[in-house]
């Protein structure tokens, strides 16, 4: 195969690579202690109302003073976060370190996924994975802003790691946690269940029509329900009532807070007449479900790849995305080196990302700080960002399918996959 593992030749040798991980981790920890990152916390690109650290602090404060944080309508974090940040990890000047360690844990999980997929134990590619995850600007910036979307990313990666290793109970536990803190990730349960049963090894080059094991999946689903019910019950005890459901899960379905974010929902619902709102909320939410079965059917032989594609779709169409959601998708590309040779327009995608990354903060500033622009400017830049995400996603789907047909040939052209 001709994929560009050739870059190894220029990549540091093993003696150096032993140092790479500690250096990257050190940089990440050092950055988290830098004072400048405080100004990032209120940046709407890095934290949406559902995962902003400032909102979390407010909720914790109310909770400590025996007020119901869910009664005010500004706190949308899961009661699990509420209890963790009230008891185990109270807010202090060292709180940023939690996010640094979560990033590092996420990177380690990603390396484990890669190892499980390639069935190797050592590889200098692992360093590149660490760099691609920890130093990805879309991952590190929300994490420095202490957005809980970074914690969600870590939960996804750990879930995928346990699923890749075929370890059912921890997979289900972490998946239940993930769905508790962010309902949108329900989309991932099907490929993750199959991943536990079928293993993560790369089947893209030789797809086979393997039957999906229905019975184990059904039993896993049952266990998942039990885990979820336990956590839901725990949340209810923590929050002392059911008010949390409408403020956390409900918020991602009913979109109560229209603070601008890099996603596609907020502008649409700001512009809309109120009597159309319920209908379009339904359309937008159901629209997310449409993707699950086609993607899963097309990639049923490689459930890890199917989860990767669904993560990309969530990064574009989630109700309250931050840069961290597409960031995870971009970083995950690094564990699928076999598709690189078949990407059709990687440079165009990169350029779209470059433009979007420059335009979004600029237009947000023109609108809300300088006052010379308006909401349409920022919305246009989020559309560029969505195009970039879409280009990356479509290219990855194409390359993942195209891989099965093999390298280009002089005489033949692929019309359809």
């Amino acid at each position: 195969m001709t994929f560009s593992l050739k870059t190894h030749s220029s990549w540091p040798q093993d003696s150096v690579s032993r140092l790479t991980f500690p250096i990257i981790a050190g940089i990440r920890i050092a950055l988290s202690l830098a004072n400048v990152t405080k100004s990032l916390r209120s940046n709407p690109l890095l934290s949406s109302p559902l995962d902003s650290f400032l909102n979390l602090q407010e909720g914790v404060y109310l909770f400590k003073h025996a007020e119901d944080p869910y009664s005010g309508g500004s706190f949308h974090h899961s009661p699990l976060f509420l209890s963790i940040f009230t008891t185990l990890l109270p807010s202090s000047q060292y709180s940023p370190l939690i996010w640094a360690f979560c990033d590092i844990a996420g990177a380690l999980a990603l390396v484990s996924i890669w190892r499980a997929r390639q069935n190797t134990s050592t590889s200098s590619w692992g360093d590149l994975i660490t760099i691609a995850y920890i130093l990805n600007p879309y991952v590190i910036l929300p994490s420095l802003a202490m957005s809980t979307s970074s914690l969600e990313n870590m939960l996804i990666l750990i879930t995928l790691k346990f699923a890749s290793q075929g370890r059912q109970p921890p997979t289900l536990l972490f998946l239940a946690f993930l769905v508790q803190v962010s309902l949108s990730y329900l989309l991932l349960i099907l490929p993750i269940f199959v991943l536990v049963n079928m293993g993560p090894s790369s089947q893209l080059a030789k797809p086979h029509g393997s039957t999906v094991p229905i019975r184990p999946i059904a039993s896993m689903f049952g266990k998942f329900l039990v885990y979820s019910l336990c956590l839901t019950f725990a949340s209810t005890i923590i929050a002392n009532g059911w008010s949390w459901t409408s403020q956390t899960w409900g918020a991602s379905l009913l979109l109560p807070d229209l603070t601008p974010n890099p996603g596609l929902w907020w502008y649409f619902f700001t512009e809309m007449f109120d009597h159309f709102r319920p209908f379009f909320l339904m359309v937008f939410s159901v629209h997310l479900l449409i993707y699950v079965f086609p993607v899963f059917l097309k990639f049923r032989y490689d459930p890890l790849y199917a989860s990767f594609i669904l993560i990309g779709i969530l990064g574009i169409f989630k109700p309250y995305p931050t840069l961290a959601s597409p960031g995870l998708f971009i970083s995950m590309i690094v564990i699928f080196p076999e598709i690189y040779a078949y990407l059709r327009h990687p440079v165009v995608t990169v350029l779209l990302y470059l433009h979007a990354s420059l335009l979004m903060p600029l237009f947000h500033g023109l609108w809300l700080q300088q006052g010379t622009g308006n909401a349409n400017f920022f919305y246009a830049s989020t559309l560029v960002f969505a195009c970039a995400n879409g280009a990356a996603l479509i290219d990855c789907i194409w390359a993942g399918l195209r891989l099965a047909i093999g390298p280009d040939s002089e005489e033949y052209v692929i019309i359809q996959e």
Binding site: L351, L354, H355, L362, F363, F377, E410, I415
Partner: protein
């Protein structure tokens, strides 16, 4: 059987249509590859030609008032000769203070007393800037006249700085401006129609005093500024008027309409209103201090009559627009009004262009009064008219669509260059035959060395960052004559990096250099197209400086000798770091604006512009 036959026929036709599509696509691709250079040349030509056409009287349109609430020049004005005498008396006292070499505290105290005598609460704000070893301090005097009609949630600011903007704040005093302000305070207080608080500010120095005052008013802190908090405060400021009247009399009222810090422009409605007001008061208006003399210094007599007028208007417009570019590209405010913009306050300066007559306190007072009445009418922030425009003449302007595409087209040409270089780097051999699209291209995919090139680009931007630190250091501030040393060090550092890079990647440096060119062009294109929205003048300058020079850099061939390569690099080094060799006053001014007013021109040049040009130099060097 018939069914099978029809199915087969269907499949064949489908395949046929696919074949036609694919052939067409390939033919188009081949055509595009063959004509890519021509396409780029055409785009560059369109872009640069468009830039030349911008001052043309055929582009653009006449100004108009968009916000209905403004109602400019609709109010009766009451400013009369009694107020002029009042202003004259204030002027005498100010001249006495000037001749007595009064200190800054003394002056501020005098102004405060005068405001207090009028029954307006007034105060003094002292401020100190620490710039390396230099200390800059002063005292602002300000007064707040509470609105008789409203609760004081909104305010209008009228300001005059101690030093006039003439010769870019070179030291001429703005005594008549301040006298007008004081007389206006006495005059405006007599009327009860004000719906907004009126804040009078006499700021010390040229830009520094007003910056300190605005900083304190909006509760911001700046590490090198120690400004006293304000004892008197008022509401949100939407609009502000700055009065600058340095001469004995004036012939024209110059509207310094635009350029705020970092190239932000105020809403065009404000400038248009003042234009209408001044016109209806019989005061001729011009932009900047450009007086259109009837006999132009340039003679176009040899042209046909019809063209003569057009060319004359073109030169006048070009002069105004070049002045605009001179301020905006460097992010310099063209006057005290420019400081307001960063707080979302739309402000302009009215500037009495020194002359022997015929206008004086009477005219400027009436214009100011009527302008304040117009501002007083506002019900919401100015938003209706344009924020993105170029004023070619007092009554003509260009909309964003008339000028923006010029830089965008150049940016697109640059981007095509980048994509072309990327494609070239991916194929081992180029198109051999140009006649048929199928046979000519040899399908030898080549590995593209991306990681090394990205590391190289990152290291160039790090060099830019180091250069920025060096320029900002106190060492440079004290020894600015050493800038040649800095220039030589940076140039040599790039040579060193190129040498290291060559020795690390011994083989196939040609494709490295092609990839570098591709990435560099793409980055430059992104920077140009995004800067157009933020600061068009800067984007246009970048398009001129980066567009063609970056596109024509030749990737280093394996056979090129060291002297050839260095020779190719030298022009880029001069283009990229050559600004260090400029007169140190220019660099110092830019640094002052960064340190005091946070104008990001210097960091932009060091961290974005210089590395991009140096990378173009590296294309031929590695």
């Amino acid at each position: 059987m018939a069914l099978l036959h029809s199915l087969l026929l269907k499949i064949t036709t489908r395949l046929k249509s696919h074949e036609i599509r694919i052939r067409r696509r390939r033919a188009f691709g081949a055509w595009l590859t063959r004509h890519a250079t021509l396409l780029r040349i055409i785009l560059f030509f369109i872009g640069y030609a468009w830039m030349i056409v911008i001052p043309s009287p055929r582009l653009g349109r006449g100004i108009y008032i968009d916000e209905n609430a403004l109602q400019p020049a609709q109010a009766n004005t009451y400013w009369g000769w009694g107020d002029v005498r009042n202003a004259d008396r204030y002027l005498e006292q100010l001249e006495y203070l000037r001749d007595a070499n009064a200190t800054s505290e003394h002056r501020a105290q005098f102004l405060k007393n005068e405001f207090t005598k009028l029954g307006i609460s007034a105060s003094i704000q002292a401020y100190t800037y620490t710039l390396g070893t230099n200390v800059l301090n002063g005292n602002n005097a300000y007064a707040v006249f509470s609105s008789p009609r409203a609760s004081g949630t909104e305010a209008i600011v009228i300001s005059a700085s101690w030093i006039s903007r003439i010769d870019e704040g070179n030291g001429t005093l703005n005594l008549r401006g301040i006298s007008t302000l004081l007389a206006l305070a006495a005059f405006l207080k007599r009327y009860s129609l004000w719906a907004k608080d009126i804040v009078f500010v006499v700021s010390d120095g040229y830009l520094d005093g007003m910056h300190a005052w605005l900083n304190a008013y909006h509760g911001e802190t700046q590490s090198n500024l120690l400004a006293e908090p304000l004892y008197l405060s008022s509401g949100v400021v939407w609009t502000a008027l700055n009065i600058d009247y340095p001469g004995h009399s004036f012939s024209h009222l110059g509207i310094f309409y635009a350029e705020g810090c970092n190239g932000r422009l105020p809403n065009q409605d404000l400038q248009n209103s003042i234009y209408w007001i001044a016109r209806s008061s019989g005061v001729p208006v011009t932009v900047y201090d450009h007086i259109d003399t009837p006999v132009s210094s340039l003679s176009f007599n040899w042209l046909p009559d019809a063209l003569q007028k057009e060319v004359r208007i073109y030169t006048q417009h070009a002069r105004n627009i070049l002045r605009h570019v001179k301020y905006q590209a460097r992010g310099l405010p063209s006057g005290v009004h420019g400081l307001y913009h960063q707080y979302r306050i739309d402000a302009v300066t009215i500037f009495g262009i020194p002359a022997t007559g015929p206008h004086g306190f009477h005219s400027i007072g009436r214009v100011a009064e009527s302008t304040l009445r117009t501002m007083n009418n506002l019900l919401e922030r100015l938003h209706a008219s344009f924020f993105f425009f170029i004023l070619a003449a007092p009554e003509r302007f260009l909309k964003i669509g008339h000028y923006l595409p010029s830089a965008l087209v150049i940016s697109a040409a640059t981007m095509f260059g980048g994509l072309k270089a990327w494609t070239d780097a991916g194929w081992a051999s180029e198109i051999q035959s140009t006649k048929t699209y199928d046979k000519g291209i040899s399908h030898q995919r080549k590995h593209r060395p991306i990681l090394g090139v990205i590391t190289l680009m990152a290291s160039m931007h790090t060099v830019g960052l180091i250069l920025f630190w060096a320029v900002m250091s106190s060492w440079y501030m004290n020894n600015s004559h050493m800038s040649f040393l800095l220039f030589a060090t940076t140039t040599a550092l790039v040579l060193l990096i190129a040498g290291l890079y060559r020795s690390h990647y011994g083989s196939d440096l040609y494709s490295h250099s092609q990839i570098l060119k591709s990435f560099n062009l793409s980055l430059a294109s992104a920077i140009i197209s995004i800067t157009t929205i933020l600061n068009f003048s800067l984007a246009a300058i970048l398009a001129i400086l980066l567009g063609i020079p970056l596109s024509i850099c030749i990737p280093s061939s394996p056979t090129a000798s060291l002297p050839t390569r260095v020779l190719r690099y030298i022009p880029y080094a001069l283009l990229g770091v050559g600004w260090l060799l400029f007169p140190s006053k220019q660099v110092e001014q830019a640094l002052w604006h960064w340190e005091v007013l946070s104008v990001w021109f210097v960091p932009f040049v060091c961290i974005v512009y210089t590395p991009i040009v140096l990378q173009a130099g590296l294309v031929g060097l590695i």
